[in-house]
């Protein structure tokens, strides 16, 4: 397995007006993302998670430290096209990232920019729309689609480039529950079946639980970096960062505070039910 993104010693602050002290958004971040991983980045508003993500494909440039994507230095202007072709990014508001007035033309936008020949372009547009399950909507106008569908169009627009990695910056924040489910299903499928590396920035715990690895950020620093099972054991710490934990972990945490012996590392409802049955001397139904 090869390293997709390698961040070392990264610091960043947004430019400010003259005379004001620059507020540093990222402090000395060190991070490696390997090929095929599904990484979720959690954190409160303003913790720097979106800023960090924008360094992954050279939208922002590091003040200090470096970001390497597939071995290429993201600080070098020469590498940017190649980096962006390999690391795609989907944003929160689908309305602000769709460029064309017809779905398939929007999916083709990146390919037009890359100068892909027409026949190859048509093939890749078909493939990308198929992957997000929107083949029958190819001739529609994007503003007539639902939020979840629009966000899938945006994902298809990235997939058409055949990237190695997709970064999604709160892709479900503006969607209704149905749209969220659609988008999450698509993301999971891309990771599990197409082996595309996924970096998902979110503040929904139920989404983070599905990742292989969860990174928790606060005040521009990485606080935790582990499997979801390990991360969500730190219920107290997460609460102090005003983050939620999955409801099952919350329940286990509450039980343990009442001195009831249950394991803390429980992630899904089934595991949770099993533990509680065990606790109650279970097996009545057996």
């Amino acid at each position: 397995m090869s390293t997709i993104i390698e961040v070392s010693n990264l610091s960043f602050s947004y430019p400010t007006e003259e005379g004001k002290a620059a507020h540093r958004v990222l402090h000395d971040i060190d991070l490696k993302i390997e090929e095929g991983e599904f990484v979720a980045i959690l954190g409160h508003n303003g913790c720097g998670k979106s800023t960090l993500a924008k360094h992954f494909n050279g939208i922002l440039k590091a003040d200090r430290g470096s970001v390497h994507v597939l071995g290429m230095d993201a600080g070098d202007e020469e590498n940017l096209l190649e980096i962006r072709r390999n690391v795609g990014m989907v944003f929160q508001n689908p309305d602000n990232q769709i460029i064309a007035t017809v779905v398939d033309e929007d999916v083709a936008f990146a390919l037009e920019n890359l100068g892909i020949p027409h026949d190859e372009m048509a093939r890749r547009v078909d493939e990308a729309l198929e992957l997000v399950g929107l083949s029958e909507y190819r001739q529609r106008a994007p503003h007539m689609l639902s939020g979840g569908q629009k966000q899938r169009v945006a994902i298809a627009g990235i997939l058409a480039m055949r990237p190695k990695c997709i970064i999604l910056d709160e892709p479900t924040a503006m969607l209704d529950p149905k749209g969220r489910k659609e988008v999450m299903k698509t993301i999971l499928r891309l990771n599990r079946e197409e082996h595309i590396t996924v970096v998902l920035i979110t503040h929904y715990m139920d989404e983070a639980v599905q990742a292989d690895r969860v990174i928790v950020m606060a005040e521009g620093e990485m606080i935790l970096d582990d499997t979801p099972r390990e991360v969500f054991q730190n219920v107290g710490l997460l609460h102090s960062l005003s983050l939620d934990v999955p409801q099952t972990a919350e329940l286990m945490f509450a039980l343990r505070q009442e001195d009831i012996k249950v394991p803390i590392s429980v992630l899904n409802v089934d595991e949770c039910v099993a533990e509680i049955e065990k606790l109650l001397g279970g097996g009545e139904n057996d």
Partner: protein, 267 residues
């Protein structure tokens, strides 16, 4: 309430005219407009009118609909006609009636000429926008203007701006509706008072709209960069237009009418 605005008034139906290559349609319209200004007598207009009739019958959009589009322009047409009559020369049209002596034969003839010319002009260009979607129109414009690149004219940039503007019209209309409702919910009054009061009432709509548009523009720029946008250099196009038999038939009809109009002018 704002959704009723249909820019360019495109009617999406399937017809001979709709299936024409947008570049060809643009070219034909240009030829048609030039021809209209070459017309020097009523016979020439007859040829142009015949052409419009042909277009109408091949586009599945009836002349009635198109004539309705003329309504807002009636004032301009009447205005033009009035001044043509006022400054026309020749013999008085009603020699017996003293107070109508300013109406002269040539003036009336010129006015009639002008009215017919304007109406035919609007009908022709309306059929262009009725049968071609705004996106196709921008696309065609970009492709037809490509030679201007030699003179460093930013053809691609212009077309990209138009495409994005068209794409964001429905989004911003939605947004305006939302802001209007939000302001109404807080007691804003847009319907009463004099013109100045009403214009002032628009400020709390325009400012949030502007702020949000800037915000959107910023995000869009990021999203375009993420998709490797780096200007027009080395770009390929997804949509390919090719001229079919329809386009040649249409061009043939146009060239014939054009020739007829020139012949009528010479003889």
């Amino acid at each position: 309430m704002l959704k009723d605005i249909t820019l360019g008034q495109y009617f999406p139906v399937k017809s001979f005219m709709h299936a024409l290559d947008p570049r060809m349609k643009l070219l034909l319209t240009l030829l048609y407009v030039v021809a209209l200004f070459l017309v020097s007598d009523f016979w020439g207009f007859l040829v142009a009118a015949f052409l419009i009739g042909l277009v109408a019958s091949f586009s599945k959009i009836s002349l009635k609909v198109v004539f309705r589009g003329l309504k807002p322009l009636v004032f301009i047409i009447m205005f033009t006609a009035f001044f043509n009559v006022l400054y026309g020369g020749g013999e008085p049209l009603f020699p017996q009636i003293e107070w109508l002596s300013w109406i002269k034969t040539d003036g009336v003839k010129n006015a009639a000429f002008m009215i017919i010319r304007i109406i035919l002009l609007i009908l022709g260009t309306s059929y262009l926008t009725y049968t071609t979607s705004p996106v196709m129109l921008t696309d065609a414009l970009e492709r037809l203007m490509r030679p201007l690149k030699i003179f460093r004219f930013p053809v691609h940039e212009l077309a990209m701006m138009m495409t994005i503007a068209l794409r964001f019209i429905p989004t911003l209309i939605d947004e305006t509706d939302k802001i209007i409702n939000a302001q109404k919910a807080r007691g804003a009054d847009f319907e009463t008072g004099n013109i100045i009061r009403r214009a002032k009432a628009l400020i709390p709509i325009l400012i949030p709209l502007l702020v949000s548009a800037f915000h959107r523009a910023e995000e869009l720029a990021d999203a375009m960069e993420c998709r490797c946008y780096h200007g027009g250099a080395g770009r390929t196009r997804y949509k390919i237009y090719s001229l079919g038999w329809r386009d040649w038939v249409a061009l043939g009809a146009m060239v014939l009418s054009f020739a007829a109009i020139i012949m009528l002018r010479i003889y």
